[in-house]
């Protein structure tokens, strides 16, 4: 099946048009955050303080890239394991985040929150960091530079490939895909 081109940030209409197993190519602006940045964002939410980035409609990409070589927009930039962000994801969705990109299993609480807030969980190909870096045309650190590879970055992406794992209807590609090929 041909991948669908979608724009970031996302609208509810686009979220609801996508199903688990769909391949997409993302274009536009997305933000990065992994363990340490999530912890800081959720601490701010709990205190009711403003966040360093506006989450409305946004994609959050779970990545800690390698340092960029001179002349490159970014270093190797594949997804990290998403399960470590499970504790923070429902709050991120509540604050307006529409989709997250990582790799690996999400817990039931996250899957339920995706239905409740009309969100998507997508996977990029884990370990394809060199290839994915070529789809990122610009990168700048916008918050928490002291976290090094865990800082929040604003990325401009062009045809960034990802696959919908959990959609807003409760479907799960990890469950359905394995069923089809198990013997």
């Amino acid at each position: 099946m041909e991948p669908k081109r979608i724009e970031a940030p996302l609208t509810d209409e686009v979220v609801m048009s996508l199903k688990a197993g769909d391949n997409v190519l993302i274009n536009g602006v997305i933000y990065t955050a992994r363990d340490a940045a999530h912890k800081k964002l959720v601490e701010l939410m709990d205190k009711g303080e403003p966040l360093p980035i506006d989450l409305q409609g946004q994609f959050i990409y779970y990545v800690g890239p390698t340092p960029e070589k001179p002349g490159n927009a970014i270093g190797s930039a594949g997804p990290t394991t998403s399960g470590r962000m499970d504790a923070y994801t429902p709050k991120m969705l509540e604050q307006g985040m529409k989709a997250c990109i990582g790799k690996g299993l999400r817990n039931q609480t996250v899957r339920d929150a995706l239905i409740k807030y009309k969100g998507l969980y997508l996977a990029a190909v884990g370990g394809a960091g060199a290839l994915l870096s070529k789809r990122i045309t610009k990168s700048e650190v916008v918050a928490y530079p002291e976290l090094g590879p865990e800082a929040i970055r604003r990325l401009e992406v062009k045809d960034f490939p990802a696959t919908v794992i959990n959609d807003a209807y409760g479907n799960d590609l990890y469950v359905e895909g394995a069923k089809e090929y198990a013997r």
């Binding site: 390698t66 594949g78 370990g127 060199a130 290839l131 590609l173």
Partner: protein
Amino acid sequence: MRELAASTISENVAEMCQEANFYLGEDVFDALKKSLETEESPTGKEVLKQLIENVEIARSEQIPICQDTGFAVFFVEWGQEVHLTGSTLEEAMHAGVRKGYEEGYLRKSIVDDPLYERKNTGDNTPAVIYTDIVPGDKVKIAFAPKGGGSENMSAIKMLKPSDGEEGVVDFVVNHVKAAGPNPCPPIVVGIGIGGTFDKVAVNAKKALFRKLGEPHPDETFAALEKKILDKINDLGVGPQGFGGRTFALAVHIETFPSHIASMAAAVNINCHACRHLERTI
């Protein structure tokens, strides 16, 4: 006695850190290409194509294959007729890691205090170094940058001798099934059997250093490797867990004699970026 300068060790280690992260070994690359021929799932094939293209981009542009450039793990076989001059082995190797990770634009992924502060050491040290003293006047260094995502999917179990082959197979297959898409399949599965609690874990790690396509030298264990590999692939998890026939590229077993009361087993998983290389100095 052969004299060997610490700087020679450091230089070699620095080069190895970069080489392993930019150039996936032919053994693993061949296994990926071969799996593209046998994979049945269209989505699985698409993933494998991306992985092959990724390896090619990394090689041609010297970009790390994966952004997780790993914990630096070394197995050193030190010939007992070699005398190291200039610093200790540990210092020499750490100097190499520091240089290799800095100059190669590799990610520094190590934090000092594992529980509270978790502050990045800034140079990817310390490394994990295992040293064996062996006969001769050569030094063999094997290196693997070990990714955290796949390392987190490791397990150890003190089985009973009566659990037998079935006990080992069930433990490994159930564990790998639960790990599912997390360790970035297609994976390489390292298994240790026998020894103590600590020894079996080291052997599971050591199993990941073996070249793909080289079965265990003992026929019985080679057959067990094949049996476990088939069972893992029959789970249908496939590349990246999207469904398919290629969940694992290889299963490697390392054994050690066991206490009469014990049968330890350990699983250590590597992702498809199974980076490992060795040099003899």
